[in-house]
Symmetry: D3
Subunit: 190 residues, 6 copies
């Protein structure tokens, strides 16, 4: 699984959730986790979650992760959503380590009452995709939803820690998936 960190600035518009985006846009072949900081404004025809139809999905500055897995063939939506949950629980752990306490409802993270993150998972016949993003600030987020950014979650935040987050999250997630594979390879089955 390749770890890619992009320069800040790429706008997440929903097209990045499409299978093979990393290969077609970045030349990254195989399973990967791509992270970057940038705005989000999802186009209606790029919506993946049918519950989001008609909603604004936008923010001025977020930490984004786009994950693609090719290991399970054919791709398996159920496995993909399990991985999404594992990713988000890893994020929650790492945030707590730097003093940001969140709670989770399904695939959403909250600081107090404020919605901190967005996430969706999907697949084609051959790959599984996950998008997860956290607001850095609540600027540019939809008015109808109470939102919050990482920088607003804690008063004594170390900016340096925030900047290390994307790499730490990517690496921890990659290690977890690898660790699961190793567990399979030492387990007796019936």
């Amino acid at each position: 699984m390749k770890l890619i960190k992009l320069e800040p600035g790429l706008k997440y518009d929903g097209s990045q959730i499409k299978p093979m985006w990393a290969f077609q846009s970045l030349g990254v072949k195989g399973s990967s986790i791509v992270s970057w900081i940038g705005p989000m404004n999802v186009q209606p025809d790029e919506l993946i979650d049918y519950e989001d139809v008609g909603l604004e999905i936008k923010s001025d500055e977020m930490i984004h992760f786009i994950i693609e897995h090719f290991d399970a063939q054919p791709a398996d939506m159920r496995l993909c959503y399990h991985r999404q949950r594992i990713l988000i629980m890893i994020v929650q752990d790492l945030l707590q380590e730097i003093g940001i306490k969140t709670h989770r409802k399904g695939d959403d993270l909250y600081c107090d009452e404020g919605k901190l993150s967005v996430s969706v998972a999907t697949c084609s016949a051959s790959s599984m995709k996950i998008h997860f993003a956290m607001n850095l600030t609540s600027q540019g987020t939809p008015k109808k939803v109470k939102t919050v950014g990482l920088l607003e979650c804690s008063t004594e935040l170390d900016i340096d820690e925030i900047s290390k987050l994307p790499d730490k999250i990517s690496k921890t997630y990659k290690d977890e998936i690898q660790d699961i594979e190793e567990d399979i390879a030492k387990t007796r089955v019936f």
Copy 2:
């Protein structure tokens, strides 16, 4: 998914990880999560984790969970280990809510340096099984490993909270799996 809570006392000897144990021993048909408090002493020929060969796996008093899933056919070891991780991260969250801070390495939970839990997952062609158990105290645990029990993790522990743990864990896990299924049913695929 059925939630079953047994009377305290059943010894976990490794036989409970076998597929269909809940049906054969308890008459519980279908996916289930069974919890109870009891000792553990795994017989060598019941070992599932080949890395445990030659080790003692025992404790005088633990909270046990045995989970069986029949939803994925054929059963999928990879999905099973993802669910194991989700279970353990849920446990970690719920422990923290009652003031017990743990850290996780793979499928093991630790309080400080002490190993708090054991876990294994396995499958047959038709079902996926998970065993997870936490020491209540470190009594009766192997001498070669530094272990700890829940009651030793915190000085200001509320026994009442501990007693509520099994049900809370079972219910939260069940809800999470159900929540994932509902997410699948609202997601556009490619």
Copy 3:
């Protein structure tokens, strides 16, 4: 599996066979069986069965069933067509109970020489869909095919029995699928 019965009148135009139709149109999340009475006129670009290309698929009044299953991940066309056959054999049984004798060729039901029903199954990566519909009368059906409606199959038909059919079919199908799941959970595998 949710059982939904719609008010009469919805025209089946082929769009209802699309994955997630029940969620997008009716807000029904998860596996479901939706039934209603209404006309049918399948648009050419909504055709699922490539053998139907160029044919008229229409009728003025039919009992419709739209089934969606999310249990098998990834969705499995083979399993889906087995379920379609089971549905149709269930229908045949229930029709016979109220005195309507039919015979079956593949996924079509006939009264004597008249074609009584239409059906198709399909899937996306994440769900399996079945449409099955029976003519109430042969009005509005294609002229090139000899068709028949339920009300024309028997001279001594009890209208009350016909009105109970959709619910009975839906419930019997749901019970059968559930029964199969329970059988899996009590079966030794090798």
Copy 4:
């Protein structure tokens, strides 16, 4: 799928449900349906249905079918039980054609109150197996269960029709499975 009809006499003792029985005992390679007339007496350690533990499963004279499918890899218990249901519904149809009216509960057929048949399905990692058998008479069946044989279901039975049953059932089942495969190959997916 090969159709094999054995000479009468082989006792079904449960060993025939094991994967590869047709190859090891009869030299039949690949998917097959084997039928024969003979007694049954299932040994306790050959039990497949855990609900049958402790029960007598025997009869002096039955029509037996042993089916093995290798098409789905890995083998799928869910698909296997769907096929079992289809087989039994086919049997029911063919019985009715010769004047024997039965009703079905799950995978059991009844004439009036008498249990006519036994059936079980199972699988290994690579094949799916079904056993289905109908009593010809109720002789030698367990006393604790009200049973019936085909020859006792109807007063005006044509023995000649009974003797044609095994071949008709095998052929109709084979054709149905083949028909499903052909339906897959003409279906648009999403």
Copy 5:
């Protein structure tokens, strides 16, 4: 698996790789291998291999094979690419038998330095597709790539042998796949 040989002349434009092409264009239902001699000019929007974007994929005269498999449900891209490799290694063997020595890199065949063949595999939810084609001459091939045709690979080529190639390749491939299925049916699993 049906073997179909078309009259020479059909241009491969990429549309033939689409699932169900053999059924929709030729009325061939089920798994098949279709071969013919004809030109190739792949339209950009019919590209399957994202690495080919922007490249010309054309040739004046090639031996084409289009394979579709419906046996694995859901279709499996990994299995499909394994079959593609097996096909190409079979071609290599059969070419060598008639004195044409090639070497293989992934799914490409070369005579000396010249690229002899093109190939791609893909799938939908329900079928797996392979296209493989070899230049007869290098006429009409892209100028940016060093290419070669079968007729240019050897100085002492028997045209009669070339004309027998399509049938031999199709039959050998079909036999190999069938042989694998038979091996499954005689293998003990754990």
Copy 6:
């Protein structure tokens, strides 16, 4: 995929085909290909190919390969046999490069009329296994079969080339499987 080369001498007795052998005996975790030179004498109760029942399977000196794959979950016998064929075709290619011409029937290699190799594949729920071995000489092989060893296939054999074979085969096989995975990751699906 790990490449392991053992010291000469280990006798292949059939136990090495069991899932997890590499982990339990060698401590190798995950997918691997293990090669060594040693004798073979398969114990009857370790037979995997039911057609071999009653046959002697032995040789004094062979090059052995034991492959285990954990990538496909659940393990897939069909994929496993495709990989076995690919392995054997790779061996055939590499033998030819050093002047040893063989022909292949299914999973057997022959020099002229002499059987050069043995092979079998199998799986558990979680891993796929392949054993392939070639005689170095025909010493110690069963008398009822005409066999041959690599050293007897050619008069002008370079012993140095033979000694390089195991590594070359292992590496080429590993690269091929990796290459297939990369092809999946650049392919458009429908």
